[in-house]
C-alpha cells in the first residue's frame, strides 16, 4: 500500500468536482494525492492513460454476491473480479442470501468473506424483515452495529403497509436508509415478463407496470410521512417515474435507480424465449424504456445500479417459466450506459459518469465516487470508444447469464485501481 501510482496524460473526469480536463492523477498510500516529489515519481508505477478516460472507481448500489449459501452462482472473489473488470470499486450487496442476512452473525460472516476475498470495497445490507418474509422486523439496530449501510428485503417487497411504516420509522431513527424493490404481488401475480402485447402474443403470464407503481406510491407516502430516506430500486415504469418526479418536487426524501438492461432492452426481446432476458422487474415497453432514459437525463432517476444477479448456466437453461429471474451486469454496465446516454448524445461524458460515481455514493453516504485530494485511491481507466461483443466466455463472474451476449458494445474498462493497487488490467486479470 506504500506503492505510488502515476496515471499519466489521461482525460480526467471527476464529475463531483466538476473536473473534465487532461492531466495526471497521483495515488500514494491508498489515497489520491497532489503531485509528489520527483524522487517519489521516479519510483512510481506509471500508467499511460493517453487516449483514455480516468474517472473515480464506479459505485454500484445493487449487486447479489450470493454469500452465504449460493456460491455455485458467485463468490465474493468472483463477484469482485467481475466488479473490477467493469470498473466498479465499491459495491453494495443485497441480503437475499441463504440464510438471509437478517442477523448480526450473518453480516459478520459476509464481512469475514469480504475481508478474505474481496478485491473491491463491498458494503453489506441487512434485511428489513426476518427472512425477508414481510412479517416481522429484523433487528435493524444490531444489523447497524454489525456494519450494514442500508436495509432491504432483497428481491422481495414488504406487502403489509403498516409493517413497512414501522420498518421505515425504526430505520430512520438509526439514520439507516431503506432500499425497496417495488412490487405489489397481487398485481404481479405470477408474471414472468411485462404485461403487454408481447406477453399476450406469447401466452406468458405478464406483470403490469402498475405492480411497481402502487409500491412506488406507497413508499413516497411513507417517506413523506416519516421523513425517512427510501431508495427505490430498478425503476422501469413510465408512470412510476411520474410519481417520483412529483414527489421530488414536493421535497420527499426518496431516491431512485435504473439498470443498464432496463434502459437498453424492451420486452420484444422475450419473443425468442431467451432466459437471459428474464429478470424482475421485467423488461418493459419501448415507451417505458424511453421514459427511463429521459428520467436519467433530467435527474428524476438519481443513479444507475446493475442489480447484478448471477445464476448458473444449468439454472437458466430451462423453460422460460421455470428459469430464475436475474442477469449479471457488472462487466457490461459502463459500456451499456455509454451507449445509451453518451454515444447517443443525450448527456455529456461527465454527466453520464456522475450516474455511476458520486451520485450513487451520496445516496448511501459511502464517501466514494470522487477524485478529491485525500479520497480513496479508487480509479477506473477506460477507452470510451473500444468496440467489443461479449460471449459466454467473456466474463470474470462465475456466471454468464448476460443479455449482452452477442450484442455489440462500445466502451471498455482498461484498468481498475482499488485502494491504490492495480486490481484489474484488461490484458490479464490480477487477483
Amino acid at each position: 500500500m506504500s506503492e505510488t501510482i502515476w496515471i499519466k496524460s489521461g482525460r480526467i473526469i471527476d464529475p463531483k468536482n466538476g473536473r473534465d480536463e487532461s492531466g495526471d492523477i497521483f495515488i500514494a498510500d491508498g489515497e489520491v494525492v497532489d503531485r509528489p516529489s520527483k524522487e517519489t515519481l521516479e519510483k512510481a508505477t506509471q500508467i499511460d492513460a493517453s487516449g483514455l478516460v480516468v474517472c473515480p472507481g464506479l459505485v454500484d448500489l445493487h449487486v447479489h454476491f450470493r454469500v452465504p449459501g449460493q456460491t455455485h452462482k458467485e463468490t465474493i472473489l468472483t463477484g469482485t473480479q467481475a466488479a473490477a473488470a467493469g470498473g466498479f470499486t465499491s459495491v453494495v450487496c443485497m441480503p437475499n442470501t441463504n440464510p438471509p442476512a437478517d442477523t448480526a452473525g450473518t453480516i459478520q460472516f459476509i464481512k469475514d468473506a469480504v475481508g478474505r476475498e474481496a478485491l473491491v470495497h463491498v458494503f453489506p445490507t441487512g434485511c428489513i424483515t426476518v427472512g425477508s418474509d414481510g412479517e416481522r422486523l429484523a433487528p435493524t439496530g444490531s444489523l447497524r452495529d454489525a456494519g450494514i449501510v442500508a436495509i432491504s428485503d432483497g428481491g422481495r417487497c414488504v406487502q403489509n403497509n403498516g409493517l413497512m411504516r414501522r420498518a421505515v420509522e425504526y430505520a430512520h431513527m438509526f439514520g439507516i436508509p431503506v432500499i425497496d424493490h417495488c412490487q405489489g404481488y397481487s398485481l404481479s401475480a405470477g408474471g414472468v415478463m411485462n404485461e403487454g402485447f408481447i406477453s399476450t402474443k406469447l401466452g406468458l403470464r405478464g406483470s403490469p407496470t402498475e405492480a411497481e407503481d402502487v409500491m412506488v406510491s406507497r413508499n413516497v407516502i411513507l417517506s413523506a410521512k416519516t421523513g425517512a430516506r427510501i431508495h427505490l430500486q430498478h425503476i422501469t415504469s413510465k408512470n412510476a417515474i411520474d410519481i417520483i418526479k412529483r414527489a421530488k418536487s414536493r421535497g420527499v426524501n426518496i431516491t431512485a435507480e435504473a439498470t443498464p438492461h432496463h434502459m437498453s432492452f424492451s420486452d420484444t426481446e422475450i419473443s425468442s424465449f431467451d432466459t437471459n432476458f428474464k429478470m424482475n422487474p421485467p423488461l418493459r415497453s419501448e415507451a417505458d424504456r424511453a421514459a427511463i432514459l429521459d428520467a436519467l437525463t433530467d435527474g428524476t432517476i438519481d443513479c444507475i445500479a446493475t442489480g447484478h444477479a448471477p445464476h448458473s448456466d444449468y439454472e437458466k437453461d430451462v423453460e422460460f417459466d421455470n428459469a430464475p429471474f436475474g442477469v449479471i451486469g457488472l462487466e457490461t454496465a459502463l459500456s451499456a450506459t455509454l451507449n445509451q446516454l453518451y454515444h447517443s448524445k443525450r448527456l455529456s461524458l461527465a454527466d453520464t459518469l456522475s450516474l455511476l460515481t458520486y451520485r450513487p455514493s451520496e445516496i448511501l453516504n459511502l464517501n466514494k465516487g470522487n477524485l478529491s485530494l485525500g479520497a480513496d485511491g479508487d480509479v477506473a481507466i477506460f477507452d470510451p470508444d473500444l468496440e467489443w461483443t461479449p460471449n459466454s466466455d467473456s466474463f470474470l463472474s462465475k456466471s454468464a447469464n448476460s443479455p449482452w451476449i452477442g450484442r455489440p458494445l462500445r466502451g471498455k474498462i482498461v484498468k481498475t485501481i482499488v485502494s491504490g493497487k492495480l486490481i484489474y488490467d484488461d490484458r490479464m486479470a490480477i487477483s
Binding site: 401466452g203 424465449f273 444449468y314 437453461d317 430451462v318
Partner: protein
C-alpha cells in the same frame, strides 16, 4: 379449390406464427391425400416405417394424444406415449435432460405437450430430430389450428373473407392464438369475444377485432369457435362463476340465431356441456366438432410426414 403450396423445409412444427400461408396449404394438400388413404380398406401407409414417434405429454390430453398415436400408427411408425406424471421429472430432472435421454433411447420424432410457453421451441433447438408442438402452455397448438382451418376450408372452399368468431377464454388459450395466426394468414375476418378479463385489447395488434358484446360479435358470422374456460391456467378468478359465464357468454339457440343461417359451430374439445355451449347444440347438424376431430388425424399424419422429410408430391393419389 386447392393450391399447390410451397415445399416444406422444416424439421419441426412449433408455431403457426412462423408459417406462411403457402406452407399451411402444403399441409392441407398433404392432409387431403392422407384422408383419401384413410378411406381405403387398408388405411395405412408405410411412409414412416422403422421410425419411432415418442409422445411426451406433460399435460392431460385425449384427442391430441390419441390422434398423434393413431397418426403415427397409420404411417407405420412405432409409437410410444409417455405419461410424464410418472416420469423422473418428479425427482427434479429437467426437461432438457429428459428429452436428451429419450433421444439417446433412439426416439426419431418427439411430439411434446407442456405447460410452459416456449417449451417446444426450446427442445427443438436442443435436439437434432423433428419436434412437433402439441401445445406449449397458452402459447400455441399448431396442429389444432391446422385441423380447424382444414375443416373450414373443406366446408366453405376457402377462408378468404370468411367471418369467424372465437368465443370464450382467449387470454389463456393456445388454440385461440394458433387459430388467430392461421385464420388471418388465410385471409379470414376474425373477431375474438368474451369477458373483458379474458379478452384484452392487446389482441387487436394481431389483426383481429376484440369485442365484449356477444350480439354484435356473433352477428352475421359464418362460424363460431367455442373455447372452454381454462381453469388450469388461471390463478386469479377472471369472472365470478361458471354460472355467470354461461348466462352472459354461453352459446344457446338464441345466440346461435344471430349468426348466418348455415353457420358452423366449432370446438377444439374437451367440451364442458352446459357451460360454454348448450348440450344439444354440440350435437346439432350445424356442429362440425366431430369433423374437426376426424380431420385432426389426417392433419397430424401430414405434420409427422412433412417434418420427417416427406414430400407432398410423392403421396400416391388413389
Amino acid at each position: 379449390m386447392a393450391t399447390s403450396g410451397m415445399p416444406w423445409n422444416r424439421k419441426d412444427l412449433i408455431s403457426i406464427e412462423e408459417l406462411t400461408a403457402d406452407e399451411i396449404q402444403t399441409v392441407f394438400k398433404t392432409a387431403r391425400a392422407f384422408k383419401k388413404i384413410l378411406d381405403r380398406r387398408t388405411a395405412k401407409t408405410p411412409a414412416l416405417r422403422g421410425k419411432t414417434v415418442v409422445n411426451l405429454f406433460f399435460e392431460n390430453s385425449t384427442r391430441t394424444r390419441v390422434a398423434f398415436e393413431m397418426a403415427a400408427t397409420k404411417l407405420s411408425a412405432d409409437v410410444m406415449s409417455l405419461d410424464m406424471k410418472t416420469s423422473s421429472t418428479s425427482k427434479g430432472e429437467t426437461l432438457r435432460d429428459t428429452v436428451e435421454n429419450i433421444r439417446a433411447l433412439a426416439a426419431d420424432i418427439i411430439v411434446i405437450r407442456h405447460s410452459s410457453p416456449g417449451a417446444a421451441s426450446y427442445i427443438a433447438r436442443v435436439l437434432d430430430i423433428p419436434v412437433l408442438n402439441a401445445g406449449d402452455g397458452a402459447h400455441e397448438h399448431p396442429t389444432q389450428a391446422l385441423l380447424d382451418c382444414y375443416t373450414l376450408q373443406e366446408k366453405f372452399g376457402g377462408l378468404r373473407g370468411l367471418k369467424i368468431a372465437i368465443l370464450g377464454d382467449i387470454l389463456y388459450s393456445r388454440v385461440a392464438r394458433s387459430n388467430i395466426w392461421a385464420m388471418t394468414k388465410l385471409g379470414a375476418d376474425v373477431t375474438v369475444v368474451g369477458p373483458a378479463t379474458l379478452v384484452p385489447k392487446e389482441f387487436e395488434q394481431l389483426g383481429v377485432t376484440v369485442s365484449h358484446d356477444l350480439k354484435s360479435a356473433l352477428a352475421d358470422k359464418d362460424a363460431v369457435m367455442l373455447l372452454r374456460i381454462q381453469h388450469e391456467r388461471q390463478n386469479v378468478s377472471a369472472f365470478p362463476s361458471l354460472n355467470e359465464y354461461t348466462k352472459m357468454f354461453g352459446l344457446n339457440k338464441t345466440r346461435l340465431s344471430w349468426l348466418k343461417k348455415n353457420a358452423v359451430i366449432m370446438h377444439p374439445g374437451p367440451i364442458n356441456r352446459g357451460v360454454e355451449i348448450d348440450s344439444e347444440l354440440a350435437d346439432s347438424s350445424q356442429s362440425v366438432i366431430l369433423d374437426q376431430v376426424t380431420n385432426g388425424l389426417a392433419t397430424r399424419m401430414a405434420a409427422l410426414y412433412l417434418c420427417s422429410g416427406g414430400k407432398a408430391e410423392s403421396l400416391a393419389e388413389s
